[in-house]
Symmetry: D2
Subunit: 353 residues, 4 copies
């Protein structure tokens, strides 16, 4: 019963097999190899247009590189106050951005609104003592396991066009969002105004593989240099590319995400039915954040369940974690087994009053 | 006949097998896993003392992170003018070092001398308009395929102690140097004054695995943050750690390096015997840089040999590449086959007058 | 009736005279001159201990340099959300700090509390994905014209000692705070735990003169390099030093501040007596932020008064600016004339219902 | 007899008078004042076209800001190995440029050639592991006191156009160069391809006043932010602007430079006539670097003369400083008195054999 994170398991079998298959033979270095080129073409097909793709090994690198290409060192990126880029990357956006700043906005369930973003921009002075906003970053899935609807993304797209900003999507859990919304990569991104995307794969079946997908060709030259100088251009490019071949082939990525989401749905349904258990937000993808009576938490820990306690300043108005309660984070992945979920619910149920 | 680089091939079989073996099961993220801890212990044993180890995916990251821990943003690192950090990492040392500068010195055969380093330091003003030197970086193997002797390293160690500098070793080809000098990791590093080491493995049998080996415990906390903020802390730490288990186990790394060096030695012997072929420096590890008559170069290209033409400003006094000649770089690796070498020499021999 | 800012006027007469007096003769460059040395000694006397002093031309430079010496690029500085460093310096702290981050806390009247700072620190993970706090920065006077009491400063000092943080004071209006609290430079700073101070003078009678006052000798070498590489070491050091001689001599700085504060006090008393006028916070130094009926604002504008409308998210609980009201900022300085104040109050009074 | 530097004296009288005249009255802050605007117009007239002007207090700030606007963090600027930006600004170009690198070229008499610059560019790989050149920086006057002719500048302009580079001129001694070449500001800059200029005034009669003169309007917005975030936007803009009014008015700047150059010419003529004294380069502006017998040096020191000993790696082929010789740097300025020069020559003459 390990619901600690979606990075606890190794590679999905087809990803590992692709790695093994790609091991033999001489290939050009630094991403000049045939596998990388094939993956680039695959991304173009996936997004139904010409895109530029930069493979890197970590989501932090993908996010920080993407933002650095959108925002000058004296500019700001609007994001949610509890976003990964703001809290969990040890200042990578500020490092890669040479001091570029994040403008964190509050918002229920890990989501900000296009209106709040616009109001923030309008509240700034145009004078040079205040840093101008150059980008908005949305996490899809959010840190609260919620989703932006296509319409909501489009509203951010419109604000960004209006104010000449770039729209970045942190898609560390892109596949989970995609299958939850039952849409296509194109619809969830550039057709709604997204300019640059961190396309995550490590959490959903790879070992270490992320893609910066760029819808603006003009940024490509710059990103090539930025990636190299940050040490993120692998000499043996096949390592990243092969993982993506395994990941994108035969809909593995979508199937993995569907499984993870289904496991969370099952957890959500089972837990929500228990007396005293509340879900502050809907569990829309592969994470849920139940507020539990402490005795259920204790029973689960005793039974060997692993997960993290959680805190959030983006609870809905009026929702509080009581003195006898605890809020926890449960994450499911491609590797989560249905039996684990059933056992978890069973233990919780037995402990509920 | 591919002598283009030592990064053209995938993983050595035992490295791939270690990756496969490490794939199953839940493991703590971000390097908190048991495999990473085992590898850290292995490094301590290897270096015969307590060391701190930071695994990363690229040599550029290893070098730039290591230097950034030694040199403040207003400081300089003395290095060879043709070193990898100065020419081939797109400014990564300057990026990670926040503007810290490289002070490039000339030197025959890719080597600088401790005397030249000391003279450079003494020639600087102590006033704050000149950046003070805080580190010296040696490449072992150098970019010219040559080696620093243990005594030479010790002389740099002494200069660094005297002037309170850190001594960094870029060991992208550490194993090749080690077996060529027939010495131990401890003797070639901290026992001669090296403070921090980029321990390369990608070129010699891994896919993407480098270790920053730190002999000064005080630098460890800082490096943890620096690695994370640069996006070089992998969430699934097993990817890097497993490669190292495969690499360091059963002397694979030493055997791979011995093979690569032997292939270069065979090439050197074969080519040096041909009329019109000169080696500007001894081929001490797994690279050689012959100066060839153009007709030999043409014959080799025609026969399908792959390698890069080369230029260097560190040729010995009096050695020039003539109008009818070309200087080339040949690199051998764990994957180089003896037949390739024999074929190469055969073609060259047939083309020699 | 110009209450726009305290940087609208040139130099106080004795400051200008000191500049003129210092103009003749050859002096060593880059702060090596006798006037700079005299000023350094004067600061030691003023603070009743050995201090290191770095003169610069702007408050932004003083703040950003001071913070950069306290916080590594992966660290954070706690400050008020509406502090000058967070909102009005175009990211200078992030630039000089190489991506170091500000952790903005809310707080009524521009003030944060030591308790809130400590709670924030305790809420952070110790893991390397979160940036650790390395400093707290207090503005004394705050951006809301309020003051930290000596006891409040001491509480921050205690938190900083406990958590091994540096305590910075942004004293752009240091003199105004000092005379308002009727205390000494030593009591308001290092005796309460302040480690480094931006000692402002430009707003209170100089043209461009600020001093970084360092209570920790260890930071001095570093700051020398940091100042030079940021272009803030003037070749003709006498420009800054002479201003300070004029400023600190004959208690000019204290008298200027007393005058400015008295003018604000007069404004506050006069305005607070009018129906419909409210002061959200006490006017403790040389700024006040009345909330006025719009018709008073209009009458003042018509009469030629100059000042800025203001917005703040740090109004006390329950205080709002109504639809018929406007909040404004009034700043007085050494150059403010009593007649201006009287005229201003007169116009407001006539317009009040 | 003080020939130490041209920053040893205060302001030229008309500059001081302009400062005094500008002191009274309320003026808009941050360069929004009328004096700054007048100075901007004056620069347009001076350069016979629309230019954008950014006033700052130091030459280091002017150079580093100018270069940062031309070169991305992964780009390089070609400059002379002994240029001020490379050796004497404590890494300011690297700091403001976020790690952008200087590519130092050798060259006799402090001058590089357009051919050498072009050869350097052509020798670089186009691949992303090597930093591309984005700018060339020329010092006019050079650090060796020599000048680029108008034709030489034009040749750099052509290379920069061809390779899409920016051409920067470090004009710390712009006026000295201008009167020496007997040309106009326009002819010496944009008409020869210069894109951005550091227009120095501090050394030639101001206290602290430099102007970044931009011939490319597109760079203006960016520079506004860059200046502010580096702490170089003075709140009381009149301080810098008034100095320039005094400096540019009544040809003060040109007359000051003519005087300084004439004093150097007199020194050069007098010294060159002495047995054993050599000038390695022509003394074209206000600095000269004689190689003297040690006994002359000793006699001058004994007589109270002040100047710095000098070293250079850009001596002409075959010129060496002998064991009994010393090379020195003599700098004259607007404040140098003819009697000092005559006395200096007299002492030297008496000491010559």
């Amino acid at each position: 019963m390990n619901f600690g994170s979606d990075n606890l398991y190794g590679a999905s079998t087809p990803v590992l097999e692709a790695l093994i298959a790609a091991n033999d033979g001489a290939l050009a270095g630094y991403g000049g190899d045939a596998i990388t080129k094939r993956v680039e073409e695959q991304f173009c097909a996936l997004f139904e247009r010409r895109v530029r793709v930069f493979l890197v090994a970590t989501g932090t690198a993908a996010n920080a590189l993407a933002l650095s290409a959108c925002v000058p060192p004296w500019g700001m990126t609007i994001c949610h106050a509890e976003s990964h880029i703001n809290n969990d990357e040890c200042g990578a956006p500020e490092f890669f951005g040479h001091g570029a700043k994040l403008a964190p906005l509050p918002g229920v369930g890990g989501k900000i609104t296009a209106d709040a973003a616009e109001a923030y921009i309008k509240g700034l002075s145009k004078a040079s003592f205040q840093m101008p906003v150059h980008a908005v970053s949305l996490s899809q899935v959010t840190e609260a396991g919620t989703l932006y609807t296509l319409d909501e993304i489009a509203m951010f797209g419109a604000v960004c066009r209006e104010h000449k900003l770039s729209l970045h999507m942190d898609g560390a859990r892109f596949a989970n969002a995609l299958v939850a919304l039952n849409t296509t990569p194109a619809e969830m991104t550039w057709k709604r105004g997204v300019d640059i995307l961190s396309f995550g794969a490590s959490k959903n079946g790879c070992l270490a593989a992320e893609a910066i997908v760029v819808f603006d060709e003009a940024l490509a030259t710059e990103l090539e240099y930025r990636r190299k100088r940050s040490g993120h251009t692998l000499s043996k490019g096949r390592l990243l590319a092969a993982q993506f071949e395994g990941y994108l082939g035969n809909d593995l990525w979508l199937n993995n995400a569907r499984h993870a989401n289904a496991m969370t749905k099952m957890l959500a349904t089972g837990l929500a039915a228990l007396p005293g258990v509340r879900l502050p937000w809907p569990a829309e993808a592969n994470e849920l954040f139940p507020i539990l009576p402490k005795q259920i938490d204790a029973a689960l820990r005793d039974a060997g369940a692993f997960y993290y306690p959680w805190q959030s300043r983006s609870l809905p108005e009026g929702v509080h974690v009581g003195a006898d309660e605890v809020m926890i984070r449960l994450v499911t992945s491609f590797a989560t087994k249905q039996e684990e979920v059933e056992q978890f619910i069973g233990v919780a149920k037995a402990a509920a009053i």
